[in-house]
């Protein structure tokens, strides 16, 4: 397991390094001068030069890349061109909305998908199974931001149970904040819950037809007992992989959903920064998103090897 973990760790570091290179290269080729943008078209050349010096824009591309990466490793993401505040503080503030939103959505998806998938597999071919499969087929096809808008129409505009958007902040009470995240989390989780239900169902059906489950049944276990004691753990491998992949989609998908509900999370920050050409913020937020995806995949790889010891030997 140690060798496997070390190998994965090396691959993780390499992925992060290459990703940082790609992001830096992609965003640094951008036309336009942030100093010019910040000071306006009438700015004097010496003022512009002073600002470029201050922002480190006069350095070579290579040294800018290294100082960006070195800064990030120490938690320093630079200073926003527009707001002149540390990017770290801006990101930290927004992360307290985006991360709980993604986790909330993931929790909802799991809470719905596990029982639905298990039930559908147990009652294969029944009306319940067909209903679950039909609903999940729809769930996969509905664009989550449209579903979010329909929920706003029903629960905020018509029934007035929730507000149509905005975030009161965690300081004003945990439950109030959670309530503001509820509709966005449901919208975000719909597609993922549907996919997870289908994966759970099919993975369980596959496992239930395996010899070891048949043996367990032959030894006198009921279908339910065989499912809970033997099939479920083995069916978890593909489910775990999908959960890992879904977390990346939830983080990225959150950017769109934040837009529907006017949530001041990372998504809003990134769009604001693009329109203000605050590239240091764009660069940093993209790096954080990609970092999160790579880290989650790393964690899934480890969890995968933990559940299935054969994988440790294979790699």
């Amino acid at each position: 397991m140690l060798r496997y973990t070390l190998k994965r760790l090396l691959s993780l570091i390499l992925s992060l390094l290459v990703a940082s290179l790609v992001i830096f290269a992609a965003i640094e080729v951008v036309p336009g001068d942030p100093a010019q943008y910040m000071l306006g078209i009438n700015a004097q050349e010496d003022t512009l030069n002073a600002l470029r010096e201050q922002l480190g824009l006069n350095q070579s591309v290579v040294s800018r890349y290294f100082s960006w990466v070195a800064g990030m490793v120490q938690g320093d993401f630079g200073v926003s061109y527009t707001y002149r505040t540390p990017v770290r503080d801006m990101v930290a503030e927004r992360l307290w909305i985006s991360l709980p939103l993604a986790l909330y959505a993931l929790a909802l998806a799991i809470l719905v998908a596990f029982p639905a998938g298990i039930l559908a597999a147990r009652k294969r071919g029944s009306f319940l199974d067909s209903t679950v499969m039909g609903v999940t087929q729809l769930g996969v096809a509905i664009p989550n931001f449209w579903f979010a808008m329909l929920m706003v129409l029903l629960f905020a505009v018509s029934l007035r149970w929730f507000s149509a958007g905005g975030f009161p902040g965690w300081d004003n009470g945990f439950w109030l904040a959670m309530k503001a995240l509820t509709l966005p989390a449901i919208a975000l989780s719909l597609q993922q819950a549907s996919i997870l239900t289908r994966v759970m169902r099919s993975s369980l059906l596959d496992t239930l037809s395996e010899d070891f489950v048949r043996t367990a049944r032959a030894k006198g276990l009921s279908t339910g007992q065989a499912l809970w004691r033997h099939a479920l753990r083995n069916a978890m491998i593909p489910v775990l992989t999908i959960i890992g992949m879904q977390f990346s989609f939830l983080i990225a998908g959150g950017i769109v959903i934040e837009n529907v509900f006017f949530l001041p999370g990372l998504g809003r920050l990134i769009f604001q920064s693009i329109s203000q050409r605050d590239l240091i913020v764009v660069e940093s937020v993209v790096m954080i998103l990609v970092f999160a995806v790579i880290m989650v995949n790393f964690a899934v790889d480890l969890a995968y090897a933990f559940v299935d010891p054969r994988l440790r030997r294979r790699t």
Binding site: A26, F145, I255, V260
Partner: protein, 276 residues
């Protein structure tokens, strides 16, 4: 799942898909109203015999806009699938031909890296550099499709390399590239068609999401995602602006998914059991 029932689902899916493809094609020669002409006197009309899906805040006919918007969605998703196939399939074939080697390892790690960039993030990076456009949406979704096709092709091709007919081709002196083209590719074509239809529907949703946040097609090109974005502030008094473009996305994606599922079952009965 009974085959007859499944075929009905696939036929329904094919009907929906063809409906929207036909609407997109028809829009090149005919739409009920021009989508470029503003008719402020008739703005925000509810659905009626004159305007089946109502009109927007500029008085434009929503039905006509959905027809023209179908072009954007279908074109973006189709080209993105093309990019994914054109680059992903050769990479997958090469990785399988050199399985276990350095090239295979490099291609697969490269795939992992691209997978770490969801389409939205790629679109954000491109937009930060070049500004938003439908082309950027195509590139973003297309780049994301490359590892999808590469992985799938590699997975299928690796098992084919152990087959007898491939071994005899090797014995007869054919090189890896020729074997990949003549023997492996035709045998993974079915899988590619199925994956293509799935990625096509993923592309439709991704294009709509990118246009919704302003990173996709720009005015005056009509797009379903942007129609939804524009409707957002009017949702309380003109819900039809939100309902119809969303239904168009839902039905197109549902249709393509049903076709994809049906094709998968039809082309590979082994997969029927593990259908997700």
């Amino acid at each position: 799942m009974p085959t007859a029932k499944l075929s009905r689902a696939m036929l329904f899916g094919a009907f929906l898909s063809l409906l929207f493809i036909s609407a997109a094609l028809l829009s090149f020669v005919w739409t009920p109203y021009s989508v470029e002409t503003l008719d402020i006197a008739n703005k925000l009309q509810k659905p009626s015999a004159a305007h089946w899906f109502g009109t927007d805040h500029f008085g434009r006919d929503i039905f006509s806009m959905i027809m023209v918007g179908a072009r954007t969605s279908i074109a973006v998703a189709l080209v993105a699938v093309g990019i994914g196939m054109l680059l992903g399939v050769p990479l997958g074939l090469a990785a399988a031909a050199k399985r276990g080697g350095l090239l295979d390892e490099m291609i697969m790690r490269g795939n992992d890296l691209v997978f770490a960039f969801p389409p939205l993030v790629i679109a954000i990076m491109i937009t930060a550099t070049f500004g938003p456009s439908a082309t950027n949406a195509i590139i973003a979704i297309g780049v994301f499709n490359i590892p999808v096709f590469a992985r799938m092709t590699r997975g299928a091709a690796i098992s084919l390399w152990t087959r007898d007919y491939v071994l005899s081709a090797r014995v007869s002196g054919k090189g890896a590239a020729r074997i990949s083209l003549e023997h492996i590719l035709p045998n993974v074509a079915n899988l590619l068609i199925v994956q293509g239809s799935i990625q096509f529907s993923v592309g439709i949703i991704a294009e709509a999401a990118l246009s919704y946040v302003g990173l996709g097609a720009q005015p005056p090109i009509p797009s379903w995602g942007r129609m939804l974005a524009e409707s957002q502030t009017m949702i309380s008094f003109a819900p039809h602006l939100t309902v119809f473009p969303g239904m168009a996305i839902l039905l197109t994606v549902l249709g393509l998914n049903l076709v994809g599922d049906g094709l998968r079952d039809y082309l590979d009965p082994k997969l029927r059991r593990s259908k997700t």
